[in-house]
Amino acid sequence: MTDTPQQSVTATAGIEPGEPSTDVAPAREAAAPARSLTSDAWRQLRRKPAFWFSVVLIALFVAMAAFPGLFTSIDPRQVFDVRQEPSAEHWFGTDGQGYDIYSRTIHGARASILVGILTTVATTLIGGAVGILAAYFGGWLDTIVSRITDVFFAIPVLLGGILFMSAFPSDQSTPYLSVVLKVVAALTILGWPSLARLMRGSVLQVLPNDYIQAARALGASPWRIITKHVLPNSLAPILVVSTINLGVFIVAEATLSFLGIGLVPPAVSWGVAINEGLTFLRTFPHIPLFPSLFLSLGVLAFIMLGDAARDAFDPKSR
């Protein structure tokens, strides 16, 4: 500050001379207790019915996938009279081959949940790791990663999935698990780059912070800085998007099965059931209805959970 008699001074500067005036209502800001973002987000989440609704749904579907026996004692491959309407004996009726639709729908959860969870874990780990490394080390590594993600970005997920699955076709003799893993591989190859890009962005926002600079100055190793300081502060966005993606991957799996390029009969899955049930749309609409309903509810649960988490972590949206 230069000393002139007509010095410009802000009215707020009365408190602390020399400090540039900031446009905050000081009393209210100072009164609010300091809370961490995570605990604040959790507080937000707990109050939301949508959050609990989706958590309960997800728990149900995961239980269905892991222990279908808890929900039904009917073997999904047992044959009854074909095309029965829903009844006390067959809650959802029977399908074109005479299978019990309720049992098939319960057992069909496994493929969707398996693909959803495995793909989400794989894309999050790969995308997250690549994103952190690219952002933290920068330079040529960052350039290469950015170009690679650009390239993968140019391939729409479903189109890429169709390409991959038709390049590695399955038939009735292919084991269930290997088809599931093939779908997971296809979706992972196409899904990780968007998460890497997201992670890179959020790490780049965290890096300039003083606490990172301080840790560097104190000689902490990159591993320690990343795990102790960078990761906890940049994880929220990727977790939110991964949750939503889980729903998206479930849709992608079902769509591939629906197109006859993912799981194929005799495998039991929602996509396969909907594909087969379509034939009876005009005459027995209950056959495609129930697997469609379960599939939609499963996707809804993950998307709602992701939405709720996003709102909780993003103060701007409140």
Binding site: Q6, Q7, S8, V9, A11, T12, I15, P17
Partner: protein, 353 residues
């Protein structure tokens, strides 16, 4: 365009352009017992609690206050651009040329914004639309209020840009806000605000976001335009230095009330309210080098829970019991020049020094 230096010359030159006539002594604007409150989740924040002032043609009134003192809310209430809800005006009147803006039909009031009352905002970068060329944004005033066609309106925009001293105005009329420097952007805001030759111009912290040297240029430009068009200028600021150069009268606001009102030189010479005194003492001065700078202790109160009695009492060094009990009204200061008013039980004593 005709410009004249006589008072109210603007109205004579464009007699047909306006339905509004100022009062006999050039009275343009009367703000009468204005109250504004914000209804929030946490309760009702009383942002303005009975503000009175008037404004005449050719006069500059400075409203001085800290952030949260209600000065910007006052300006936005006059402009009619408060978001209601959450804002609410439970009491008061804002009369422009004798007509109450608050009870006027919305459509009629909208048409006063621009041709009659106009406003300049603090941050020109965010206040100008980033996706439209600056010339287009100025020309919009002529097209929408005067029904001018595009090319005539653009020609007017260029003329205005030249008037506010933007170099190469003709070439830059199609440029976008982000392509200008901060000072140039504020000039564009000014050009837009004066486009329709308003009678009242409100400048809300027009120089806060700018460098000190540019601040002086912008203030000089504003003063020049005001002189030329005989506008009534309301200058909202927290900067005592800006006020001294250009204002005729000052109203000091605190907690949504006017604490003191005076001619500018009077107020600087002998403040009659402890808050004003504190503000003036917190200006560093060359002749007191080496001494500790005095400051007003404490923070402004929470608008949700205003203190009893005088709003300033928790921070006042002259505080007495009466201050905690009774809220002092804004009244004439005994023994001071006419027109001096202060809302303090001890204004006489403070004024005497």
């Amino acid at each position: 365009m005709t410009t004249t230096t006589q008072p109210r010359g603007r109205r004579d030159a464009q007699a047909t352009a306006s339905d509004y006539r100022p009062g006999p002594d050039g009275l343009l604007l009367e703000v009468d017992d204005l109250h504004v409150e914000f209804h929030t989740e946490d309760g009702v924040a009383r942002a303005i609690n009975g503000v009175n002032f008037d404004l005449h043609a050719g006069e500059t009134l400075a409203i001085l206050g800290e952030s949260g003192s209600g000065k910007s809310v006052t300006a936005q209430a006059i402009m009619g651009i408060l978001d209601m809800p959450p804002a609410k005006i439970p009491r008061g009147a804002i009369r422009y040329c004798g007509q109450d803006l608050l009870t006027m039909p919305d459509e009629q009031r909208r048409k006063t914004r621009g041709p009659e009352i106009s406003m300049i905002f603090q941050d020109a970068l965010s206040s100008l639309n980033p996706v439209f060329p600056v010339g287009w944004q100025i020309a919009e005033m002529f097209r929408k209020h005067r029904g001018m066609n595009k090319s005539d309106a653009t020609a007017q925009a260029v003329r205005l840009m030249e008037r506010v001293q933007i170099p190469a105005a003709k070439q830059r009329v199609r440029a976008f806000p982000h392509q200008f420097s901060g000072g140039m952007r504020q000039r564009i805001m000014i050009a837009m605000a004066i486009a329709l030759d308003p009678a009242v111009l409100i400048a809300d912290e027009p120089t806060t976001a700018l460098d000190v040297t540019v601040q002086a240029q912008i203030m000089a430009l504003l003063a020049e335009l005001q002189e030329e068009r005989q506008m009534g200028l309301i200058l909202i600021t927290h900067d005592l230095g800006v006020v001294a150069d250009v204002a005729d009268r000052i109203a000091v606001m605190y907690c949504g009330r006017i604490m003191e009102r005076a001619d500018v030189l009077e107020l600087y010479r002998r403040p009659a309210h402890p808050y004003t005194l504190g503000l003036l003492e917190s200006i560093p001065r060359l002749d007191q080098k080496g001494q500790e700078l005095s400051a007003i202790g404490g923070l402004p109160p929470n608008l949700l829970r205003l203190p009893s009695g005088c709003e300033f009492h928790p921070r006042c060094r002259f505080v007495q019991d009466v201050c905690r009990r009774d809220r002092p009204e804004l009244t004439a200061v005994v023994g001071a020049a006419p027109g001096r008013e202060s809302a303090c039980h001890f204004s006489e004593e403070v004024h005497r020094g």
